[in-house]
């Protein structure tokens, strides 16, 4: 790992960076270190930042309809049905077979509680404290700790199912079912499920992206007041912290962390408002594509249970369920928009949680999980394959959109690393020897795409460490069970 970090010697030391992130005045500091958030237009040395995105589907795949026959088949032949939608961008995709998941003993009875929570952590929960959250910081949050200070949002977490599933496997905390991002070993990061709320968050409550200059002045004063107010409250919280026991102090630390992130965000909004550049136009060069337009359906996710994850659109005289694929695509669009406008550089997107969505548009209403213990049942196998295909299609939709957006010398996809995958090899036997996943994007020229590497020996932690390395994130320790960088995946 160390070796790859020295390659990027222009990066500031991580510790310095983390220290900087804690302070409200972090941004000028970063600017002084050459991390200007807003580079001079047309500055030659400036390279678009690398974006890192993860998209999840539970329960694994029908393996023989997912993996190409061999390396040659990936390049030339029609792709297997589940990944056929990636054909137009196959030269910018990378498939790697042979990545094993973390062995889940002693939680053998909890495959679904762990498939999502170990996916980006490559770490098992602490068995002795399993009823609360004790796992590892996830790869996306490691990245967010490093690059998150450069953007208005350190990271974006999306889902299309509420994270409220209650089922107890092996005594594990129920939140392990529905969370993939962990800001610290004890802090699951919630995801947003409502596209409207996501959009408002990206553009701070405004219907249109860019702020109107007319009220920018007022907003800016309010923002400055908010920041001072939070500073006061922060001081009070520190005082409270001193009067509490150790475990309570950890909770206050989470609060302090949240307030600091909020202050940083307000500072970033203030500056954009001051520059009249809320959509990050200054960061895009003349040749770059304009920001994509996203049609946000007005409505909400209906039902009290997570399985009721259909989005219901409100219109003049009533409510209509939109297709699951349509709902999933809006979240894809929002990810692309957030990346394009450089509002964040790190995202996770839980396409569905392991309790299983249903996909009526495929012609059957069964929940995903109910079909995955298929044995040799062809009907179920076909249904699962259809669900797999639909999920990869949404990912393909997202990365193709990115491939069509010009940025710098290439496209947004060229400057990104997008991973689609599952935490189980297959849902029938819960195996984890060959995790299914696809990488799309060149990571600014670090990822060696257009290939299918058929026989890598590595694990989930190695994979995550490799992707972060490719994204220029220096690591001071392996991720979870990882031990190495998988150099075959990288250029040079």
């Amino acid at each position: 790992m160390r070796k790859t970090t020295t390659k990027n010697s222009w990066l500031i030391d991580r510790r310095t960076c983390l220290k900087g992130l804690g302070a409200a005045l972090a941004l000028p500091l970063l600017e002084s270190m050459g991390w200007a958030e807003t580079p001079a237009k047309g500055a030659a040395a400036w390279k678009p930042p690398v974006r890192l995105g993860f998209m999840y589907m539970p329960h694994g795949v029908i393996m023989d309809r997912f993996w190409p026959k061999d390396a040659e088949a990936f390049r030339g032949a029609p792709l297997p049905p589940i990944i056929a939608s990636l054909a137009p961008v196959r030269d910018r995709c990378l498939m790697v077979k042979g990545i094993s998941g973390i062995p889940i003993a002693p939680f053998n009875g909890g495959p679904h509680a762990l498939e999502l929570s170990t996916w980006l952590t490559a770490t098992l929960p602490d068995a002795d404290r399993r009823a609360s959250i004790h796992i590892g910081i996830s790869a996306d949050q490691i990245a967010a700790n490093y690059v998150g200070g450069m953007t208005a949002l350190p990271s974006l977490e999306l889902a299309t199912m509420p994270q409220t599933h209650k089922e107890n496997q092996e005594g594990l905390n129920e939140n392990y079912y529905s969370h993939c991002s962990y800001r610290s070993p004890t802090q699951p990061v919630p995801a947003e499920v409502n596209p409207g709320a996501v959009f408002r968050r990206l553009f701070q409550g405004r219907d249109q992206g860019p702020a109107k200059n007319a009220d920018a002045q007022n907003l800016s004063t309010d923002a400055a007041l908010d920041r001072s107010l939070l500073d006061l409250v922060l001081g009070g919280a520190k005082d409270l912290r001193g009067r509490l026991g150790r475990a309570d102090q950890q909770k206050i630390d989470e609060y302090l962390d949240g307030v600091r992130a909020l202050e940083r965000r307000i500072a970033s909004i203030e500056r954009r408002q001051r520059d009249g550049d809320q959509a990050g136009d200054a960061r895009r060069r003349d040749g770059d594509s304009p920001l994509i337009e996203v049609a946000i359906p007005d409505g909400d996710v209906k039902g009290r249970s997570p399985e009721a994850s259909q989005f219901v659109r409100r219109s003049g005289d009533g409510e209509t369920e939109i297709k699951r694929s349509e709902y999933m695509q809006v979240m894809c669009d929002l990810t692309v928009l957030a990346f394009q406008a450089d509002i964040t550089r790190v995202s996770t997107y839980i396409g569905s949680t392991p309790n299983g969505a249903s996909y009526p548009e495929l012609g059957f209403s069964d929940q995903h999980h109910s079909q995955t213990h298929y044995g040799t049942d062809q009907v179920k196998i076909d249904k699962v394959a259809k669900i797999n295909t639909l999920n990869v299609e949404q990912f393909a939709y997202m990365v193709q959109k990115m491939a069509n957006l010009k940025e710098g010398a290439g496209t947004l996809l060229d400057n990104s690393i997008m991973m689609w995958g599952s935490g189980l090899e297959n849902g029938d036997k819960h195996e984890r020897n060959n995790l299914p996943f696809v990488i799309a994007g060149k990571g600014g020229g670090t990822v060696n795409t257009g290939r299918f590497i058929t026989n890598v020996k590595g694990n989930q932690g190695d994979l995550l460490g490799t992707l972060l390395t490719a994204a220029g994130i220096p690591l001071d320790r392996p991720i979870g069970i990882g031990t190495k960088v998988i150099t075959e995946m990288l250029v040079g």
Binding site: P154, P162, N175, L229, D257, A261
Partner: protein, 650 residues
């Protein structure tokens, strides 16, 4: 909530245990049985369990080895620690099922030794030191936060709707993320916009209530602001406000003045500061001292908040606060009276929405998929009525202080016109849900309630197995292990051979396999006993195949039944198990954590008290509220609790 009480990883059905206990005793007269005191558990541990482990297990799972990633190396040092409960249960299950030691080992324990070991594990709760559990300051849940805003500012609790939905109760994640913090600020802004009238408009009623002082008549602005801040923060923080805390709020006022805001706008900043403070977002203790590790009693205000959020999912009202101020709330008589008062208030509906619905699993009904061709009736509005039926039954048992057995054998229910026509063959006049007397004893109670029956079904048919599991887990509190992976579903059976069989006959086919039969001999009869109810809970005489429903069955112990009514009678005979299950789940919900170790002894004690007075529901809730873990908290680790292992790791 689904399994707060870890009884065992294997199905230790009391049906089964009841049947076999005499046999076991005869066969194992050398085994000491389940220990019932700490001394006994300790003695058996030293004299028998340790040598047992040394003889049969240490080669693979002892001090140096952890084959299969399993070692008792740490557990043996802290045998009574709740941290290792799962580990011992796992070990006992493997030993009991003769999975361990493996076939190839020469040294194998005798049946007597195996029984000794699993009995000891069953009784090891008695090794747990007296411990109320660690109580970490708790963030308000989304629901609680919305309700608290309503009570403080008269706003619609949906002001909190932008917060992410979350698991609540025992599996609740007490953590805070930057996203949440951002949303708290957004919510604060929208609340302020509702509370403070726009410039030029007359002040809102809430605004007038907030301004408990005005400058003038010798009162300067800052003094008025101080009174306002103190009065508001006292309610919002649910406890007296310290001088330092008040100072922070006054600084917010000063900040406004410094930026040229007028008195009113500066007070607005104070309110905002309150709303984003950790003292509002978390329930925090009042103490001014740095706490020392150990067990302490909850202070009166913390107790008031815990009680109020448990039963109402909102902040304490004036009466509770006044009792806390007077230091009287910890008086058991006062606390019990307050519990009953809160239960009889309509706000206690929160107890069903937060707890009851999860207990029954009926919170899943709204989002459950049903085949629209087969069950076009399952509209959102019907589902809502089905949910309300369960809610009103629960409420009636609570408010009328009925026996817990009413949950199984109620002779009344609640129905509107739709429910009446579809499920009860009754014509119900008037608007909305009404209480109705049931004459058909096959109906009534949670076992045969449409909402519950529908919750356990597949989209297109009933699942007798799911219904059996539901009764065992949700009603009787047993743990049913998941089916081994790769079990063929019914649909996989040779269709030509089973086409003429009823679902029951088809399900019974799998019981010829002894591996399956072990659990299914208990699960299936219960499910079959409910086969007269279709997948959404309507009465039927014939199932989908057209064959007549055979709802008769026999449970271990030669307990025969032939109708749902008779099945209910068998279930209600296990009233203590029902009561134990309900009490345990409710305690876990009240504490916002899973139960472990010493909690199990607490529940045993509560249940025996509840039983003495007719299993009355309000007594049950009072017992939970006045229990040791509810009224006390542990700060830091207990010495020797087994967590040293983790601390050394860091």
């Amino acid at each position: 909530m689904s399994r707060p009480l870890t009884v065992s990883r294997v199905l230790v059905g009391t049906f089964l245990a009841g049947l076999t206990s005499t046999l076991v005793l005869q066969a194992s007269d050398a085994a000491p049985g389940v220990p019932t005191t700490q001394a006994q558990a300790q003695e058996i541990f030293t004299k028998q369990v340790k040598p047992f482990l040394e003889t049969y297990c240490s080669d693979c799972h002892g001090e140096k080895k952890s084959k299969g990633e399993f070692t008792y190396r740490y557990a043996i040092k802290y045998a009574g620690s709740p941290a290792f409960r799962q580990l011992w249960n796992h070990a006992a299950a493997s030993v009991k099922a003769e999975d361990m030691p493996p076939e190839k080992e020469k040294k194998k324990p005798t049946a007597v030794e195996r029984t000794m070991f699993s009995d000891w594990v069953a009784g090891m709760k008695y090794l747990s030191p007296k411990d109320p559990g660690q109580f970490v300051i708790r963030r308000l849940s989304k629901i609680e936060y919305g309700n608290t805003l309503r009570d403080l500012f008269g706003v619609d609790p949906r002001a909190a709707a932008i917060l992410p939905d979350e698991v609540f109760g025992a599996g609740y994640s007490n953590s805070l993320s930057p996203l949440l913090m951002e949303q708290y600020l957004l919510v604060a802004n929208s609340v302020l916009d509702q509370v403070f009238a726009k410039a030029g408009q007359p002040p809102t009623a809430v605004e007038q209530r907030i301004f408990t002082a005005r400058p003038g008549n010798g009162v300067d602005e800052r003094a008025a602001a101080q009174k306002i801040a103190n009065d508001l923060a006292r309610r919002a923080y649910r406890r007296p406000v310290s001088a330092a805390e008040l100072q922070v709020l006054l600084s917010a006022f000063d900040l406004g003045k410094k930026h040229g805001r007028d008195f009113r706008e500066s007070v607005r900043l104070v309110v905002k500061a309150v709303l984003v403070s950790p003292q509002f977002i978390f329930i925090t203790p009042v103490s001014d001292d740095e706490p020392k590790p150990g067990v302490v009693a909850l202070d009166d205000h913390q107790l008031a908040a815990r009680l109020s959020y448990f039963l109402w999912a909102t902040m304490p009202d004036a009466e509770l606060m006044a009792l806390a101020d007077q230091g009287r709330l910890r008086d058991p008589t006062v606390l019990a009276a307050q519990t009953r008062r809160l239960l009889s208030d309509t706000r206690s509906r929160a107890l069903f929405d937060g707890f009851g619905a999860q207990w029954l699993g009926i919170d899943k009904l709204a989002g459950k998929t049903f085949d629209p061709d087969k069950f076009p009736e399952m509209t959102p509005s019907l589902r809502q009525s089905m949910y309300d039926e369960a809610r009103l039954l629960f409420d009636s048992i609570v408010r009328e202080d009925r026996s817990v057995r009413t949950f199984v054998e109620a002779d009344y229910t609640f129905a509107d016109a739709k429910l009446g026509a579809l499920f009860y063959g009754m014509k119900i006049d008037g608007e909305g849900m009404q209480r109705v007397k049931l004459t058909n004893a096959n109906r009534g109670g949670i076992l045969t309630m449409p909402g519950v029956l529908a919750t356990t079904s597949f989209p297109n048919r009933t699942s007798p197995v799911n219904r059996g599991v539901w009764v065992l887990e949700h009603v009787l509190g047993e743990h049913v292990p998941p089916a081994p992976a790769n079990v063929p579903a019914l649909e996989k059976q040779d269709q030509s051979k089973v086409a003429t069989l009823t679902l029951r006959q088809r399900t019974e086919l799998h019981r010829t396999d002894p591996v399956c039969n072990n659990c299914h001999k208990i699960l299936d009869p219960i499910g079959f006993g409910l086969e007269n109810f279709d997948a959404i809970g309507r009465w039927r005489e014939r199932d989908e195949s057209g064959g007549a429903v055979d709802a008769s069955g026999e449970l271990p112990g030669k307990q025969r039944f032939s109708t749902p009514q008779e099945l209910k009678r068998i279930i209600v005979a296990r009233l203590d198990d029902l009561c134990h299950n309900l009490t345990g789940r409710m305690l876990a919900y009240a504490l916002c954590r899973q139960l472990e170790g010493y909690d199990e002894i607490v529940v045993d004690g509560l249940v025996s008290n509840i039983a003495k007075d007719g299993h009355r529901m309000q007594n049950l809730v009072v017992a939970v509220v006045t229990s040791y873990p509810f009224m006390n908290r542990r700060i830091g680790d207990l010495p020797g609790a087994g967590n040293e292992k983790n601390d050394n790791k860091k």
